[in-house]
């Protein structure tokens, strides 16, 4: 292995490679989260929230499509949005570990969404100024729905935290349990150094994210774990939890069973 590799993971990137990596960070987060949220369909606590969560899943998968379509354009050849979603294996996915965590109960799913939605809000808001036009356009197109997601999940955190004793206890546990998966969102990655700063480097979002999380948790009468607590990482390098294997096995089963078919 050359000097650009560390522990089996690629560390040095050309500008072109870094661009693709960055797009996969965004696209894979959106797809896997959308896939997870879609499992709530017909299983929500009340009909109105079934509709809301399906709508959110639609937004994420819609955004994933835009990003994959653009990646397919860059890659050319036979690559399509579907070949990227259905014919890559776990080691090629670049989503954060947070989004592949199981749905759990409503509070678990809400907290997972709250962490990533708040992150996405600051990320996509800043990406509207990305010098790379395709990303700026997608960010501009998505920011309204992302702002809505962030508001929706924050409101639920407050409702559950400041609801009943039972809901308070449950959602506090969700926060404590999911916290170690949130830190990875702000992990530094070598691609950030290759790309110009308008490709927002994720670590730069941490303080805004933490302030917002504090504000919401305070309204929810919930406690926040230490911000320097140990964080699990690896997703951005293709090192995933076992959950992703099942998510992909389910999602990819049909196209892989009938690779010659078009749908």
């Amino acid at each position: 292995m050359g000097g650009g590799w560390l522990n089996g993971v690629k560390r040095d990137f050309t500008k072109e490679e870094a661009l693709e990596e960055y797009l996969f960070f965004l696209a894979d987060d959106a797809l896997i989260l959308g896939q997870q949220l879609s499992k709530w369909c017909s299983a929500g606590p009340v009909l109105e929230q079934d509709i809301a969560i399906i709508n959110t899943a639609l937004d994420h998968i819609g955004r994933a499509r835009l990003l994959y379509q653009h990646l397919a354009e860059i890659k050319g050849g036979a690559t399509t949005e579907d070949s990227l979603a259905y014919f890559r294996d776990h080691m090629d996915f670049r989503n954060a570990l947070l989004v592949e965590q199981p749905n759990g109960h409503w509070g678990d799913s809400i907290v997972r969404s709250f962490f990533i939605d708040t992150f996405n809000f600051y990320l996509y808001d800043a990406l509207r100024n990305c010098t790379y036009a395709p990303i700026a356009e997608i960010a501009e197109k998505s920011i309204k729905e992302i702002a809505y997601h962030a508001q929706w999940s924050a409101e639920w955190v407050v409702r559950l935290g400041d609801g009943t004793e039972e809901s308070h206890g449950k959602v506090q546990k969700s926060i404590d349990d999911l916290w170690m998966w949130a830190g990875e969102l702000f992990e530094s990655a070598p691609v950030f150094e290759v790309l110009d700063p308008s490709f927002v480097a994720f670590p730069t979002l941490k303080s805004a994210w933490l302030n917002k999380v504090d504000e919401v948790l305070q309204m929810a009468t919930l406690a926040r774990p230490e911000d320097d607590a140990w964080a699990q990482t690896g997703g951005r390098y293709g090192i995933h939890s076992a959950h992703l294997g099942y998510i992909l096995a389910e999602m990819q089963s049909l196209p892989r069973t009938y690779p010659d078919a078009t749908w």
Partner: protein
């Protein structure tokens, strides 16, 4: 007594003159009951009907297909919501209707007690099940109860869209690889007869129909609607190169309609009575989601009450 008869006569004359009945109007108690039964049954069908399709959302074979299916199931949830609201205008709460669904007192369309083992079922359901539903619902846009008729106008538009999308899924399969064709045909084999059963028992065995027709809740008989559906659907199957699984199906020149084989009413009544392949699964899933969501609903309610109190305190302090 005399007044009562004249109220009912007046009501009948009002309906006969093609006027719409509105929530605050006087109506015969049986009219109200029939409507609550029918509208809530329709709402429950939308809600339970989400399950066989939700089954394929995570496995949809393309991102586009996944989005279309998600959007469709979301529409169904929305239809359920309108219809519960329409039924609530008649004085029955959504909580009560859901309790009746879960206890088995209220019914939903028997079609949703069949399983969806195949992706092709996502096409067939759109094509046949939504197709049959539209046949019925277009009639209901002219039903005599105003809120129901208006809900139907909106719902029909979306359902026609679903039917086209379903037909597109089947078409892609029918024109695809040999395995895909096999999938489409196998799915049609399973759904054809249950779809015909969606129109309900034949006219001579349909106890509620006559009164519903007189009140203009219903405007066409079960058998008429079923025949219209068959006449419309058979050519679509031919176009796709698929075979309708009915050896007795034959064009009748004299009637200008298709003759078709005997429906297995034994199966129909058994599925309605709870013996379909998925009756238990559907209700168990609904109850489970409802019970698992209880703490969430309680929290939302408790929070709303606290907020209202805080607002009140702020106002009185100001």
């Amino acid at each position: 007594m005399g007044t009562n008869i004249s109220l009912e006569e007046k009501f009948q004359a009002y309906v006969d003159a093609e006027n719409k009945v509105e929530p605050k109007d006087w109506m015969p108690e049986k009219y109200r009951k029939t409507l609550v039964r029918q509208i809530s049954q329709h709402a429950h069908s939308e809600i339970i009907g989400m399950q066989p399709e939700a089954n394929w959302i995570t496995r949809a074979p393309s991102l586009r297909a996944k989005l279309i299916l998600l959007a469709k199931v979301q529409d169904e949830a929305g239809h359920g919501l309108y219809l519960y609201s329409a039924a609530e205008t008649l004085g029955t709460s959504r909580d009560q209707m859901i309790a009746d669904l879960q206890s088995g007192k209220a019914k939903y369309s028997s079609i949703f007690n069949y399983p969806t083992p195949s992706w092709a079922d996502m096409g067939t359901i759109g094509w046949l099940v939504d197709g049959a539903a539209i046949q019925n619902q277009v009639m209901l846009t002219r039903t005599s109860y105003g809120p129901y008729a208006r809900a139907m106008v909106k719902i029909c538009k979306e359902e026609s869209f679903h039917q086209r999308q379903g037909y597109e899924v089947v078409m892609k399969l029918a024109q695809g690889t040999p395995e895909q064709k096999k999938m489409a045909q196998e799915s049609l084999n399973r759904w054809w007869w249950p779809s015909l059963m969606m129109f309900g028992p034949s006219d001579d065995n349909s106890p509620n129909s006559e009164q519903s027709m007189r009140w203009k809740i219903k405007r066409k008989s079960n058998d008429t609607l079923r025949q219209e559906f068959i006449d419309k659907t058979v050519p679509q199957a031919h176009y796709l190169g698929l075979t309708i699984p009915d050896p007795d199906l034959k064009w009748n020149d004299e009637r200008g309609s298709y003759d078709f084989g005997e429906i297995n009413w034994d199966e129909f009544y058994n599925v309605i009575q709870g013996n379909g392949p998925c009756n238990k699964d559907r209700i168990t899933h609904h109850v489970k989601a409802h019970e698992e969501g209880a703490w969430v609903r309680e929290a939302a309610l408790a929070y709303a009450e606290k907020e209202a109190k805080r607002k009140e305190n702020r106002t009185s302090a100001a």
